[in-house]
Amino acid sequence: MIPGSYFLILSIVLFILGIIAFFAKRDLITQFMAIEVMLNAANLAFITFARAFNSLDGHIIVLFIITVAAAEAAVGLAIILLIFRQKETIKSEDIKLMKG
C-alpha cells in the first residue's frame, strides 16, 4: 500500500503549483484553470484522508466539490465570455472596474 504521506505531499505540491500558475499568467482563462487545479489538489487530500480513516465522508465531499466546481466553471466562463464581448480582451490587468 502506498503510504498516504506521498499523496499528501503531492496534493500540497499541486496546490502550490496552482497558486504559482495563477500569479504567473495574465490571461483570465488560464488563471481560472489554475483555480481548478487548486480544487483538485484539495480533492486529493480529502480522498487520502478518507482512505486513512476508512470513512466514506471524504468521498461524498469530493463528489460535492466536483459538482460545485462544475457549476462554478460554467458561470465563470460565461462571465469571461461577457467580459471578452465588452472589452475585447482577456488580460486580467485590463479589467480594473473595481479600482479605488
Binding site: M1, I2, G4, S5, Y6, F7, L8, I9, L10, I12, L14, F15, I16, L17, I19, I20, A21, F23, A24, K25, D27, I29, F32, M33, E36, V37, N40, N43, L44, I47, T48, F49, A50, R51, A52, F53, N54, L56, D57, H59, I60, L63, F64, I66, T67, V68, A69, A70, A71, E72, A73, A74, V75, L77, A78, I79, I80, L81, I90, K91
Partner: protein, 165 residues
C-alpha cells in the same frame, strides 16, 4: 507495482501543470490540464476510490475542460499572451509559495504517522456511496441540485445576447 504507478501518475500530473505554466497558448494549456486531471483520476483509483476516479474523469476532464475549450474556441485569440513583464511578481509569488509549502507540510506532518498505519482495504462502491448520499447527506444533495440549476440558468442568461430593438 503500485508505487511505480503512483510515481508515473504523479509525474504526469505535475508535469501537466508545469507545462500549463510555461505554455503561452490557451488551447495547449487546456489540453495539458486535461492530461493532469486524467492522471489525477488514476491517482484516485490508487486510493481505493474507483467511483470518484470515474467521476473525476467524466466530469472534470470530460465536461469542465471541454467547457473551457469551447470558450477558448469562442474567444478565438490568435496570439498568445506573454507572461508577466514584471518578473519580480512571479519571483515573489514563488517565494511565498515555497513558504506556504513549508507551512502546509509542517501542519500535516503530524498526520503522516497515522496515514501510513491505518487505511481501509474496503473499496468504496457506488452502493455504499449512494446509501450515504441519500441518507446522511440528503440536504446537501438536494441543495447542490438547486445550485446546478441556478448555475445553468445563470450561465444562459448571462451570455444571452440582448434582443435587438
Amino acid at each position: 507495482m503500485a508505487h511505480f504507478l503512483f510515481f508515473l501518475l504523479a509525474l504526469v500530473c505535475v508535469g501537466g501543470v508545469l507545462a500549463m505554466i510555461f505554455s503561452q497558448n490557451q488551447a495547449y494549456n487546456a489540453l495539458f490540464l486535461v492530461l493532469s486531471f486524467a492522471s489525477l483520476g488514476g491517482l484516485f483509483g490508487l486510493l481505493n476510490a474507483p467511483f470518484i476516479a470515474v467521476v473525476q474523469i467524466i466530469i472534470y476532464a470530460g465536461a469542465i475542460m471541454v467547457l473551457f475549450i469551447f470558450v477558448i474556441m469562442m474567444i478565438n485569440l490568435r496570439i498568445g499572451i506573454p507572461p508577466e513583464k514584471k518578473k519580480w511578481t512571479i519571483y515573489l509569488s514563488v517565494v511565498l509559495a515555497l513558504v506556504l509549502v513549508a507551512e502546509l507540510i509542517l501542519s500535516v506532518k503530524g498526520a503522516f504517522q497515522g496515514l501510513s498505519q491505518s487505511g481501509g482495504e474496503e473499496i468504496a462502491s457506488p452502493t455504499a456511496l449512494g446509501k450515504l448520499l441519500f441518507t446522511d447527506y440528503l440536504y446537501p444533495f438536494e441543495i447542490t441540485s438547486v445550485l446546478i440549476i441556478a448555475a445553468l440558468v445563470g450561465a444562459i442568461i448571462l451570455v444571452k445576447k440582448k434582443e435587438e430593438e
